[in-house]
Amino acid sequence: MARKKNDNWVELKDQPVPEGSHLLEVDDLKMYFHTQDGVVKAVDGVSYTLDRGETLGVVGESGSGKSVTSLTIMGLIDMPPGKIEGGDVRYRGKSLLEMSEHEMEHIRGNDIAMIFQDPMTSLNPVYTIGRQLGEGLRLHRGYTKEQATERSIELLRMVGIPNAEQRVKDYPHEFSGGMRQRVMIAMALACDPDILIADEPTTALDVTIQAQIIELMKEMQEKNGNAIIMITHDLGVVADVADKIMVMYAGSPVEFGTADEIFYGASHPYTWGLIRSIPKQVKDEKKPLTPIKGNPPSLVNAPKGCPFSPRCPYAQDICRNKKPEPHFVGEGHYTKCHFASDPDFIKKNAPSTSRTQNAEGGEQ
């Protein structure tokens, strides 16, 4: 099985995506953790597809399984305690879950790269930036040390780090938070990956720096055509970058659709709750927020029916007893709610958006 860089191993990245399939297909993925307290259903039936040039926004509160989903795709979950209980992840038609660790090593960084929330803990403090940037290139591309350094300088310049020739020799602590996140992006893009998974890439940063980093990620995507999976709890960030949005709650998606469908045509009470919870920028009068009552459920003793039913203001008996199946509101736009098929229910309870206000001739 061992594949060296010089044998006739064909880069998966260079092969066309098989007819009828997508760049990345996640199909009913289930990742459970077997702990002393019981089985934690961290990822419980996640499905989506992604193509090149697309950005998928994954939103949800802490503990909703948004990070574990992407770590599972990358094969970065320790098993045990983790166990894949079902489903599949296909990258260019090939199952990532069936690959050997050796093959996965080739995928990670080369085909699918990841950037993390905290740039300080994800960079190694005892190695120079240049060495860490070049590591992937030397490993995946067989670059020499000199070639790797040269390319590292190029990459640093690309992500807007001034004085790159000097900075490449610096250590992570000599960079500011925003600069470190730029280095992380440079590192992730070093091998020109197909998919960039960004797990809360701007949460630790200030707003003005966040704006810089998001702009940089968009620019890089335009240039390289890679797909992005943007994991965040900030609806503002997904509104800025995402083409498609998956809203997750208690380990599974509750709603999936295009950005416009989620922001202007949401049909799940949890999505409504999220939208209502954010303080609106208002011009005149301030109204109290409408929070979602209660707390997210424990993933060990998940509710029997709809996971959101204990907090849902519209929950009926059916919600507490039966798990809702995805209901397709539109093509590619689905909602896991028993009442999503009832347009009156949605019309009555959905929050007003800037579009509905415009349609009604309201202000703005």
């Binding site: 707003v207 003005t208 609806l235 509104a239 999220l274 927020l289």
Partner: protein
């Protein structure tokens, strides 16, 4: 909210400055001239019952301002007058008395509650310290009622902090701060560690309690939409200086300082239509180090409309551009960065 601002301010902060020596040690202050200029010449007033928001990026000195007001650290210079008395000149006894009326809510609901105390003990501790309710039974009843008010089950009075979620812990912190019915509560990033749905619960709770008890808040946060939501007046800080300060509406509608304008425009709006149509100002670079702050206006290194005058001399004075609206910029004007508008 202007009618609220009649009469004497509850808290008056005048030319408050706080510097820290860069290196710790006995001789550090004498040998090492390097200092972190955390807070530089900050002045503002807070009136009874209002919420004063303090926003800025990390390292701008907003938390240090809050801590210095409560004298958790001593100010380097300047005046803090709370309820008619100068906090900086208080002795230990007076300080304790002052803290009966000024309480603190911390950012991290995990670190700010003692894990070895039950939440009942945590909430009743301020009462014991100030000997407000000597009768144990009465105190217990009062603590139970407090827990009920902040939305916790009074039955859980004997539970420990680890048994609660982040949002619930923050409610414990709020109950503790309200136990003495203080006149002012300094809230240092009270919701930034919480999820959005929980954040909204806590913000509503804070507003409700304020309506009920007439407590004033100094609300410190980095999230502009949260600050706008809760505050009557808002001040923007950058590198230890106060750049702009006004009622919330004017500040968000018509920022006069280029930094405020840039900050507002950097916040991503959860509305794709708005996001696509608006022009954003993306500031270049990072904030300078507070150890060696630039001469002149501290923002001139990143300011898109900086001129020669900004880079030299003193920091521009915080001047009143409109009644109740102060701005520290040579070129203060409504939305000073042209070609970019702050869309709401």
């Amino acid at each position: 909210m202007a009618e609220k601002n009649q009469g004497a301010p509850l808290l008056h902060v005048e030319h408050l400055t706080k510097e820290f020596p860069v290196e710790a040690g006995v001789f550090a202050s004498r040998m090492n001239k390097k200092r972190v200029h955390a807070v530089e010449d900050v002045s503002f007033d807070i009136y009874p019952g209002e919420t004063f928001g303090l926003v800025g990026e990390s390292g701008c000195g907003k938390s240090t301002t809050g801590r210095t007001i409560m004298r958790l650290t001593n100010p380097t210079s300047g005046k803090v007058v709370f309820d008619g008395k100068d906090v900086a000149k208080m002795n230990k006894k007076e300080l304790k008395e002052m803290r009966r009326n000024m309480q603190f809510i911390f950012q991290d609901p995990y670190a700010s509650l003692n894990p070895r105390m039950t939440i009942g003990e945590i909430v009743s501790e301020p009462l014991q310290i100030h000997n407000v309710m000597p009768d144990a039974k009465e105190r217990l009843e009062y603590v139970r009622s407090l827990l009920d008010i902040v939305g916790l089950n009074p039955e859980h009075i004997n539970r420990y902090p680890h048994e609660f979620s982040g949002g619930q812990r923050q409610r414990v912190g709020i109950a503790r701060a309200f136990a003495l019915k203080p006149k002012l509560i300094i809230c240092d990033e009270p919701v930034s560690a919480l999820d959005v749905s929980i954040q909204a619960q806590v913000l509503n709770l804070l507003s409700d309690l304020q309506k009920e008890y007439g407590t004033a808040y100094l609300f410190i946060a980095h999230d502009l939409s949260v600050v706008q939501h809760i505050s009557d007046r808002v001040a923007v800080m950058y590198l230890g200086h106060m750049m702009e300060n006004s009622d919330w509406k004017t500040l968000y509608d018509e920022p006069h300082h280029p930094y405020t304008q840039a900050l507002l425009s950097a916040v991503p709006v959860p509305d794709p239509d708005v996001q696509r149509s608006r022009k954003r100002i993306i500031l270049k670079g990072d904030p300078p180090s507070p150890i060696e702050p630039p001469a002149g206006c501290p923002f001139h290194t990143r300011c898109p409309i900086a001129q020669d005058v900004c880079a030299s001399g003193e920091m521009p004075e915080l001047r009143e551009v409109k009644p109740g609206h102060f701005c520290a910029c040579h070129f203060a004007a409504p939305n000073p960065i042209k070609g970019a508008s702050v869309e709401l």
